[in-house]
């Protein structure tokens, strides 16, 4: 019961932030550009078309009125019409969302599945070779230009070794699996097509690794430093003095204590992953929201860009709320 109260409190805290997010998107799209009507109409529109747009979207009215219009549109799920495709931006995003979701989830799994064990091993074998290698890897990770990494991976695995495909989610000779979740990895299995599954897997490996690289390094570093700190605490010595085996000490006693910073970082990373997806999807021709927005940038498709920005911010805020709530479960000291 107290947990529900806590969740409610966090939700209420979030409301001003959400409000702020809509205001920011509004300001960027309506107040910053010289002529918002032109941005919406597109660079190729005629003067007449621009004037029409201005009237149609109420862009000649005062800003607060425009903001109200903007928000009421949001509530109805209207993010504007894409200049490029002449479709509502929401429809576009809807189409491309599953691909991005799949890529992001795969990356998170790599980050956690590799990062956490690596961080733990590095903390336990402090100052041994594994630790030094991990720390070098960490520095490279946070310094890596993701788009360059993608290109280098393509050079190595696609061009030189020919092991992995260079773009897309699926070879052209295959047809996409029957839509159940939108996640090809799952849908191909549900379809029972193992050959398709492996093909999809081979396509997702490089982009997922590339996207996860930076955050893998961060997660490893956080897990390592938090584990080192925890392993220096008194209660670890108590456990050892009671006869608990070293494995249990690390995996049970120490690890649960370092879950908190790990979970927090994962939440933050998820948001940055969404940002990084922009670059990764472009490099690997992955048909997701990231590639969509880059194409929109090249086309100066302003409504699409702003729609994407807003959606991403909303997702990010939701994830942080989720992390907050999870935090309450992990830390018994939190008062609800």
């Amino acid at each position: 019961m107290r947990i529900l109260q806590y969740i409610l409190k966090r939700l209420i805290y979030m409301l001003p932030v959400l409000f702020g997010v809509t205001v920011m998107v509004f300001v960027i799209s309506h107040a910053i550009p010289g002529d918002p009507a032109k941005m919406i109409a597109g660079p190729k529109a005629s003067r007449q078309a621009v004037d029409n747009i201005r009237k149609q979207h109420g862009l000649d009215k005062p800003l607060p009125v425009q903001y109200l219009r903007f928000v009421s549109g949001l509530v109805k799920g209207d993010l504007g019409i894409s200049i490029r495709n002449h479709r509502p931006v929401t429809h576009d995003l809807n189409d491309f969302f599953p691909a991005t979701l799949e890529l992001t989830l795969a990356s998170i799994m790599i980050c956690l599945g590799v990062g956490i064990p690596l961080g733990i091993i590095s903390a336990v074998r402090r100052n041994h070779l594994t630790d030094h290698l991990t720390r070098i890897f960490s520095v490279f990770g946070v310094s890596m230009p993701v788009f360059w990494l993608g290109l280098m991976l393509l050079l190595l695995f696609y061009r030189n070794l020919g092991w992995l495909p260079g773009s897309g989610r699926l070879d052209i000779d295959f047809s996409p699996p029957v839509y159940v979740t939108g996640l090809y990895l799952i849908d191909t299995l549900l379809e029972g097509r193992i050959d398709k599954f492996f093909n999809v897997a081979s396509h997702i490996v490089l982009p997922a690794f590339c996207l996860s690289y930076v955050y893998l390094a961060i997660v490893t570093r956080i897990v390592r430093s938090s584990m080192i700190e925890v392993l220096g605490q008194e209660f670890i010595i108590t456990a050892r003095a009671n006869g608990v085996s070293e494995w249990m000490i690390v995996l049970k006693h120490a690890f649960k204590n370092s879950l908190i910073p790990t979970v927090t970082i994962t939440g933050l990373s998820f948001g940055e992953l969404l940002g990084g997806a922009i670059l990764t999807e472009t490099i690997f021709g992955w048909p997701g929201m990231g590639k969509y927005v880059v194409d929109s940038v090249n086309y100066l498709d302003f409504p699409a860009i702003m729609g994407f920005t807003l959606i991403v911010a909303l997702v990010y805020v939701s994830i942080n709320l989720f992390v907050d709530v999870l935090y309450a479960f992990l830390n018994p000291k939190i008062t609800y």
């Binding site: 209660f235 006869g243 204590n257």
Partner: protein
């Protein structure tokens, strides 16, 4: 009957500043059912001695350079890690100074106690819980079943320390090492916890190595006491004998430093300060501060010798066979 015998244990520590000789040929014996007090100032090596018994000192930077620790028939310095784990919490237990940080904050008390029981007894959950509840009862914990479900931060300092006592006694060890168990507690609670501790160990004939810097605790609780200074044992005797007739100048200084209710003079303190152990004074490590220093004191290390059948001293100023009080000419303290 001897339960634990520490025989000329030497331990050194190496860090960026150098190598310190933290323990130098420390020898102690604890008999069955005996409460041995180990006193000395901070940094004299009492905790290191205690932790070395259970091999809790990480081997870099620590290094056991010589000696043996005989527990019943085994040399604890030579047993396998597996056997050591069997012993810890089961045949030899240890309670620490800070109950605040000695318990894992993210697991319940019950979880942590059950873990100890499960490791050594492999009982089912219900039986393990029963054992824990019974033990919590023994340490006079109100409502033991509820306590099992609580987290450490939900309990007071005194209650936490009692949980520690219960946790360490639940598997009925033969030796309990108590490293300053009441130092971090409120004065009002100290007596309580100490009383519970002594009652339980006496009842079960559990030997105790009581580490403290508080002579009052020693007087109250211990059968025998050993005094350490700068990594060496300087005197060891039954409690009454030590207080009645301390032989080592350092011990005399310690006892003289105890504030007394009826003394009107200013508090006495031993002049000088504890030496660094990277470059300790040659010979007797106390000689720079000693008022009865002899020529040999800065050249030869005094051996720990039996002066009477129960009283050992390591001091050149105490002649062999000399009775207590006849030792060396000592200025009145």
């Amino acid at each position: 009957m001897t339960l634990l015998k520490i025989d000329r244990l030497s331990v050194s520590f190496t860090n960026y500043q150098g190598t310190s000789s933290v323990l130098d040929r420390v020898s102690l014996t604890i008999g069955r059912g005996q409460i041995l007090g180990l006193v000395g100032e901070s940094g004299c090596g009492k905790s290191v001695t205690a932790r070395t018994i259970l091999r809790l000192i990480p081997q870099p930077p620590g290094n056991i350079t010589a000696g043996a620790i005989l527990f019943k028939d085994e040399d604890l310095l030579k047993v396998s890690p597996r056997r050591m784990r069997q012993i810890r919490g089961n045949e030899i237990s240890m309670i620490f100074q800070e109950p605040m940080s000695s318990l894992n904050p993210v697991f319940t008390v019950g979880n942590q106690m059950r873990e100890v029981v499960w490791i050594h007894r492999k009982l089912k959950r219900r039986e393990a819980d029963a054992m824990c509840v019974e033990m919590l009862h023994q340490v006079q914990m109100p409502d033991p079943e509820a306590v099992l479900k609580k987290y450490p931060h939900e309990l007071s300092g005194g209650m936490r320390q009692r949980v520690m006592v219960a946790m360490e006694l639940v598997c009925a060890p033969e030796l309990l090492i108590a490293d300053e168990p009441t130092t971090a507690l409120d004065v009002t609670i100290q007596g309580q916890v100490l009383a519970i501790l002594t009652a339980l160990t006496r009842e079960r004939n559990i030997s105790v190595l009581m580490i403290t810097h508080d002579m009052g605790v020693v007087a109250q609780v211990c059968d025998r006491v050993a005094v350490m200074y700068a990594g060496r044992v300087v005197e060891a005797a039954p409690v009454q004998e030590l207080f009645a007739g301390p032989m080592h100048p350092y011990t005399r200084g310690l006892i003289a430093s105890i504030p007394s209710m009826d003394a009107n003079d200013s508090l006495y303190s031993i002049p000088g300060s504890v030496p660094t152990l990277i470059d300790p004074p040659p010979g007797c490590r106390f000689h720079p501060r000693c008022t009865v220093r002899l020529d040999a004191c800065d050249r030869q290390v005094p051996e720990l010798r039996w002066i009477t059948p129960e009283h050992q001293v390591a001091c050149h100023g105490v002649p062999i066979g000399g009775r207590k009080g006849e030792a060396a000419s000592a200025p009145g303290y």
